[in-house]
Symmetry: C2
Subunit: 108 residues, 2 copies
DNA sequence: TTTTGTTATTGCAATATTACGATAAAGATT
DNA sequence: AATCTTTATCGTAATATTGCAATAACAAAA
């Protein structure tokens, strides 16, 4: 019955899926787009930009942070978030591997 | 309430999230890995390789097909699946854009 | 035509995600 | 200290995903 048999797959397959899952919501795509554009990346700014409540944004930020796509540093009262491009580079590598793979896969 | 306010976001944000969602499960990562390795890409082969039932694999294949990451062609009785590398190239472009973006984002 | 083989679909139970009000936590301000 | 500001967490309702048995659909084989 139901939901996620992650123990059946390899660690790297689970990890990769976990990273993609972090990107699998438009709000988190929007957060990333915003962090890419602005210099000041205070959490409150993101809440204002998105049509979502503060707790919901905070939850999305946590999911992005948990897979390492963003970092947050405490600045007194506030928290400054920004992208960690290393994590994005790691994910890009997955597509490199697929696209560089020479096979006859285009059989259909 | 709950679950998905996709109407609040742009079409491209929703589309991108939808593609990432297709990759957000280890079984689908495993299917892609298998299609990359083998020449013969008959559906039944995938079912044998994965620790999941035939209906479950069929459902995962449909999700991959719906976002264009794989294609399926009918071969008499069977269906031959393979990767569509164009779709992967499109997704890779997202990471290109982020990584090429010159900003002071590393503020944390 | 009946049977067999292969894949898709349906229906449903278990689990996960999403969203937010309420509230907690903690630094800043008065 | 009391209050304000900012962010995180808890609790919970609504919705989505996952997995599979049962079954349908359909071509191939007998």
């Amino acid at each position: 019955m139901g939901a996620s048999k992650s123990s059946y797959f390899t660690a790297s397959q689970n990890e990769l899926a976990r990273c993609f899952k972090a990107l699998a919501h438009p709000a988190r795509i929007a957060i990333i787009a915003h962090l890419l554009e602005v210099e000041a990346c205070v959490c409150g700014d993101i809440v204002e930009k998105l049509p979502l409540s503060q707790p919901t944004v905070s939850q999305h930020l946590r999911e992005l942070k948990e897979v390492g796509l963003i970092k947050g540093s405490i600045e007194g009262n506030r928290i400054c978030y920004c992208l960690d491009k290393t994590a994005f580079a790691n994910m890009q590598h997955y597509f490199d591997l697929i696209l560089q793979h020479k096979n006859a896969s285009e059989c259909c």
